[in-house]
């Protein structure tokens, strides 16, 4: 399966169902991240987005179905091999106290490294990650002392140092102001363009998602209710079905992508 200008599937959820303590959260999802694309997973709270991302990152085992990395079951491959290809940035990672930016970014080299010490490759990858994320000037600063925006850049630098071909991010911009949100998304686009990193991320902001992702997957109640180009997916009926939201759509004056203007929330059975 090849898609809209994207390459072959890198990471695929095939008939995936996932549950916490018997309560099913992901209820049969088929979704593929294609080579070289940016995919945004959107949907209301508790629609199963983050859980699906955990499944894609092999942190949680599907109760039914499988996650395929380059066509092979991700759970069959040694986790360290997977880590050389697939990176994840969780929602709110916690840095050890007193760690410097360079040290934290260096931790991203874990899957590439032997027991004792790093190689020249490691040092080059860390330096390149610091450069690519604009954090080189912060290298010797303590992570504790950084602003929220700087810190998120540093975490992305750590993920970049891992040199993953596929990068998953769980709400990478949820705790940032609008300028830093744009900053982080531009950075991810840059990685996608320059390194060809395939990116799947959970986002809440539909307008930013439609502007920065080539494809959207809209989830509701554990299922993907629509997937495709933003202009195809973000429609009034999808917004009503997924979010229980009455909304109008406009065109973004910058990118021509859809902009959602909420009108009101539907009350009643459609929006529990």
């Amino acid at each position: 399966m090849t898609g809209l200008g994207g390459g072959p599937d890198r990471l695929t959820a095939r008939g995936v169902r996932m549950a916490y303590d018997g309560a099913e959260v992901v209820r049969g999802v088929d979704l593929a991240l294609r080579d070289g694309e940016i995919l945004a997973i959107v949907g209301p709270n508790a629609s199963g987005k983050s859980t699906l991302l955990r499944g894609l990152a092999r942190l949680m085992r599907p109760t039914v179905g499988a996650v395929l990395l380059d066509g092979a079951d991700i759970r069959r491959r040694p986790t360290r091999d997977v880590a050389r290809v697939l990176g994840l940035l969780p929602q709110q990672p916690v840095a050890p106290d007193g760690i410097t930016v360079a040290e934290l970014v260096d931790r991203g080299r874990h899957p590439h490294r032997g027991w004792l010490r790093g190689s020249g490759d490691d040092r080059r990858a860390v330096a390149a990650a610091l450069d690519a994320t604009g954090t080189a000037d912060l290298a010797d600063r303590l992570v504790d002392g950084l602003s929220g925006g700087q810190r998120q850049r540093v975490w992305i630098a750590m993920a970049v140092a891992q040199e993953p071909e596929v990068l998953l991010l769980d709400e990478p911009i949820s705790f940032l102001d609008v300028a830093h949100q744009i900053d982080v998304l531009e950075l991810l686009c840059d990685l996608n363009r320059r390194r060809g990193t395939s990116i799947a991320m959970v986002l809440h902001d539909l307008n930013l998602a439609s502007r920065y992702a080539q494809r959207l997957a809209v989830m509701a109640e554990g299922r993907v209710v629509a997937a495709g180009r933003p202009a195809e997916v973000l429609t009034e009926s999808v917004l009503r079905e997924a979010f229980g939201l009455d909304a109008r759509l406009m065109r973004c004056p910058v990118g021509g992508t859809p902009i959602v203007v909420p009108v009101r929330r539907f009350r009643g059975p459609a929006a529990p």
Partner: protein, 346 residues
């Protein structure tokens, strides 16, 4: 993409130098403390005699006998137990991601104490050689119970659950210990000596017996250093970096039991070393576990041997047990550390 020159990227050269200097200083402190431990005591022995006693012992020389039979064993046991407590504390704090975790908090010392009291009161054990095994077994049993209780249920053994289970096991074991002690005053007398904790008057044979456990424990710690660097980022990030979190956690738990069990069996339960040492080590060497674990070993040993020496000088001609010295000095130091917010999570 521009690539910066190699060498600037990783923790600055100044920082690396500081780390090496800190480790060397800790090593020197240990050597100095050990030398003092051989040289100082109730019986005044000249430095030259002490050196002779170690290098060219004479059979009938009383000074040599004191050095070789009394001071050398307690120094060696202090080094072994101190480094074991230091590394065990560092492992526990990192695996549980809890900066105030130590063998005491996790109920391991209470388990060892209960086993020793049981040995004395139920089996009538009086020889330290036998108590060693009970102390070791008690530590392992407490760890097994804590792990079992913490990982019961679907959520698994989260750091908070481990700490709570440890507190519960400590409380239960301590209350049973108290019950046994209250019902038997003779046991209380013998137990009191063990309970205070000191490298003095212990059995050097125990060190030989426990050496394999210590070596295994230190080996596990050395092998776990790199893995812990990933583990302290949280389970999700560690797993996505390719760390096998479950395996690493079990390995570290085994290491803690070996080190803590051997340390407690050697010198009795000594509080604070396992708690304080990792904080000192992180302050001196930063966050890389390959360095902080090594520093914890040296600092733990230096602390315990120093405390043992200080105990000999505090109240001549008597002695204050090292366990008390550590607690008396350790408590204010810990308060100062907390007040200056030097507490750091691994």
């Amino acid at each position: 993409m521009t690539t910066r020159p190699i060498g600037i990227a990783m923790p600055g050269a100044a920082f690396r130098f500081r780390r090496i200097a800190a480790l060397a200083a800790a090593g020197l402190a240990l050597v100095a403390a050990s030398a003092l431990s051989l040289a100082l005591g109730a019986r005044g022995i000249a430095a030259g005699e002490v050196l002779d006693a170690v290098l060219r012992p004479e059979a009938g020389n009383n000074d040599h006998i004191v050095v070789r039979e009394l001071r050398l064993p307690r120094t060696l046991i202090g080094i072994a137990a101190g480094s074991a407590f230091g590394v065990a504390g560092a492992l526990i704090q990192s695996v549980t991601r809890n900066p105030i975790a130590d063998p005491g908090l996790l109920g391991l010392n209470a388990g060892a104490a209960l086993a020793v009291v049981t040995a004395i009161s139920v089996f009538g054990t009086s020889s330290p050689g036998q108590q060693v095994w009970f102390a070791f077994a008690g530590t392992a049993a407490a760890a097994a119970v804590v792990a079992g209780v913490a990982s019961a249920g679907r959520a698994g053994a989260t750091p908070a659950r481990v700490a709570l289970a440890g507190a519960a096991v400590a409380a239960a074991a301590t209350s049973i210990t108290t019950l046994l002690l209250l019902s038997n005053l003779e046991t209380l007398d013998r137990f009191r000596f063990w309970q205070v904790g000191s490298p003095a008057g212990r059995d050097l044979d125990a060190l030989a017996v426990l050496l394999p456990a210590l070596i295994a424990g230190f080996t596990i710690a050395a092998a776990a250093g790199r893995m812990l660097n990933a583990m302290v980022l949280g389970d999700d990030l560690a797993r996505s970096l390719g760390a096998r979190v479950g395996v690493a956690r079990v390995a570290c738990a085994v290491g803690v039991v070996l080190l803590c069990g051997a340390g407690t069996a050697l010198s009795g339960p000594i509080a604070f070393i396992g708690l304080m040492t990792p904080h000192l080590a992180r302050r001196l060497c930063g966050t890389d576990h390959r360095w902080t674990l090594a520093a914890s070993a040296l600092l733990g040993a230096a602390l315990l041997v120093t405390a043992d020496v200080a105990g000999r000088l505090l109240a001549p001609p008597g002695e204050v047990e090292a366990g008390l010295v550590v607690a008396v000095i350790g408590a204010p130091v810990m308060v100062a550390v907390v007040r200056r917010s030097m507490v750091s999570a691994p």
